[in-house]
């Protein structure tokens, strides 16, 4: 079947019941989405599907034909980080970092819908995602910083 990930179409040869997470990691060799629980409880696997944050660990690829899937890799690279990624670097918002890809993708979904989220909206949006290192304060600051930098630079790609 055909999967559209980060703006590129990929022909994927996997069972339709395979959760998207394994196809991203194994077939497309994308590292960002992580296995955390396989139950949709921790958010480490979060990607954005048609503008909405989703748990890739419990979303079978059969449900994804024709949908636009965005992973952390779609927001930028180490050499050219996107605004959210830059904000996470500037705030040094990671310890082990295992949860961060999911955090950024869920924040990305919020910023797609709301350019000026309140602090309460950011917290509510990130509620499904777990961080064990206790990096929450920095994650919140990074999302706020990214939101503000977008407002300041309206022509920056969103």
């Amino acid at each position: 079947m055909e999967l559209r990930v980060n703006g590129v179409s990929h022909r994927v040869d996997a069972d339709p019941d395979t959760p998207l997470l394994y196809v991203l990691r194994e077939d497309l060799q994308l590292n960002a989405a992580k296995f955390g629980c396989g139950l949709g409880q921790c958010g480490a696997c979060t990607v954005v599907i048609d503008g909405t944050a989703a748990y890739s660990c419990i979303t079978p690829i059969a449900a994804l034909e024709g949908k636009q899937i965005t992973t952390l890799e779609g927001l930028g690279s180490t050499d050219r980080p996107g605004p959210l990624q830059r904000a996470f670097i500037e705030e040094q918002a990671a310890q082990c970092g295992y949860c961060i890809a999911g955090m950024i993708m869920r924040a990305h979904a919020l910023l797609l819908k709301s350019a000026h989220p309140t602090d309460a909206q950011i917290r509510t949006q990130l509620e499904p995602n777990l961080c064990r290192c206790g990096t929450h304060m920095r994650i919140l600051r990074a999302v706020r910083r990214a939101a503000e930098s977008r407002s300041a630079n309206p022509r920056e790609p969103k």
Binding site: Y22, L30, C42, T124
Partner: protein, 748 residues
Amino acid sequence: MTRRLESGCETGVRVSRRAVLQGTGALILAFASGRRPTAQEAAGDRARRGLLQRPGSLARQPYLDGWIRIDADGEVTAFTGKAELGQGIKTALLQVTADELAVPLERLKLVTADTARTPNEGYTAGSHSMQDSGTALRNAAAQVRELLVAEAARRLDIAPERLTANNGVVTAEDGRRVSYGELVSDTLLHVQAQPTSRLNRPDRYRFIDRPQARVDIPAKVTGASAYVQDMRLPGMLHARVVRPPSYGAQLTGVDTGDIERMPGVVRVVRDGNFLAVVAQREFLAIKAMRALATRAQWQETASLPQVQELTQALLALPAQDYTLLDRQDPTLNLTSWHEATFTRPYVAHASVGPSCAIAQFQEGSLTVWTHTQGVYPDREAISELLGMPSEKIRCIHVEGSGCYGHNGADDAAADAALIASHVPAHPIRLQWMREQECAWEPFGPAMIARARASLDSRGRIAAWEYGVWSNTHATRPGPAGNLLAGQECARAFRSPAPRPLPQPEGGGDRNAIPLYVIPRAKVVHHFIPSMPLRVSALRSLGGYMNVFSIESFMDELAQVSRSDAVEFRLRHLEDPRAREVINTAAQRFGWARRTPGGRGKGCGFGFARYKNLAAYCAVALEVDIEAGSGKVRVGRVVAAVDTGQVVNPDGVRNQIEGGILQSLSWTLFESVSFDTRRILSVDWSKYPIMRFSAVPASVEVHLIDRPGEEFLGCGEASQGPAAAAVANALAEATGTRLRDLPLRPQSA
């Protein structure tokens, strides 16, 4: 900026050129008088008195070229036996090395824990990395720089004091330059380190004590390969284990036939009670594992205590008593005693990413990529498990999900290694499932503490008695019997008898001795060898529970003596650094001006010096308890920290902030649940941890500047103080003291 290396009149330090040139004799140091000696000078003083010991891990691995290598093209590589666990150690080690070696940080490479390449520094644990490896690399770098300058002096025929080292080049006053790459030879750095080094002066630091962006973060926030989970090796296969349903369960039968015939399944591995499946693709390995689990028959025993009666069950087990402190004062006339008992349940490391490892067995050699805390001890364990000489095994640390102590990392490495020994040639990638991580990781032990104290007429503590009951906090490999695969395989390795970790650092008794000055004091560690649940090291070991208990009890005593909690602590403290940390936290929080507590709102304070020998940390915070639900909202949190010489200020803040939030999660939410057979808290719905809705409104961390002092280690320093602060705030808010963790005000 350039730095003069030889400037006796400026630094008050003179160095014998001959000693430097020979690289053998101890450096002869003389100090200017009239000020307190720095840690470096104190070390020099010890050296003069003949108490020579090389600093940090140089004591264990003295050769300089084991730590620092300079290639002919000037490329510099530092080596550490410590591992990046997300605590930012790589960056801090690069900072100290770059500073002392006088090279730009971005030109330095760092190789971390790898049995084929780096020194053996044991485990990356106990907030020891800066003390052990930071101190070693810093001194090694300084000594390498001195050797390079001495070599330049020889070649240029000029006194070393007329040379400066900067940016990897030694420059003479007359403008002649020679690069490190040109100076270095095969043998120049193959010398043993001296006990003392001419370290950079704090006012000349270029990287130390300056915020440095962590080198590991860009890859982590962009999806570059950053974790062992992200490795993809040619020919790699995916494995999953089928763990027993409960501790000690015996595999009485399993029909593997139709599993092995599933397309894409490579094979089923059975070795005693150890059961695993290997497949070509990851999700297929998971499906095969699930199918295999339904075909396995296990004989289980009900060996666990009733969770509701855990305290009584633990106290009923035989204990070995160790008296840690017994200070008598027969002149005391004690009238009344105050008593309290505190309990903590089993707590999980609960990393967000389940443990993972890759192992490849090829031509009689085994390579294991693992997020273990100790590549060398892990290698010994795997060597015993597989009956292979350890020289044939290489363990390479690759980052995994957060660590926080002895979690499933070593077990996953052993699982992968055992499977790889049955399926040679292919790299075997093994990752645990969520329920396996939650059920099988070694937990932080359940503990009980009893405190008793008597106050004198002036409101000071006259007598203090404290007992703590705990299992061991150290069942790390080492021995193969400490690995799940070791226990489950047909050879059934037995775990060695548990032993308490010795003071002064201690295990269950870590921080059991109060830092407060009390005339009569007795502290006893009741060590319980028998372990109903699998336990081992969780961040700060017993320090969390003992500080929670002592600092809760201090507030109770302050209340009895009608004293302010902060003032009451200061009344019993002589250590000026402890007092400064407490005063700083109190002032920055506005403790003296705070609103009186009650009606669901309260403030709390907690303090400890981690292990009584590492970083000092005080935490003040406010809570607001939602009426009806009892939900605890933590508002403003203020912490003060003295961790000696700070290397990466933002790194310290990140560690302290993280420790506070993790401790709040342990303290307010966490408890491993089980019935008499099985662990029940096997996912995030049954083992809830802090989510964003419970995150404090703000966290401030104030660092106390201690230029030139020893590194103290801060990674675990805030666990205990944060727990005590929230306990004390809840008591002020509700008027009811909660002593059983996790603290749930609605149950009061």
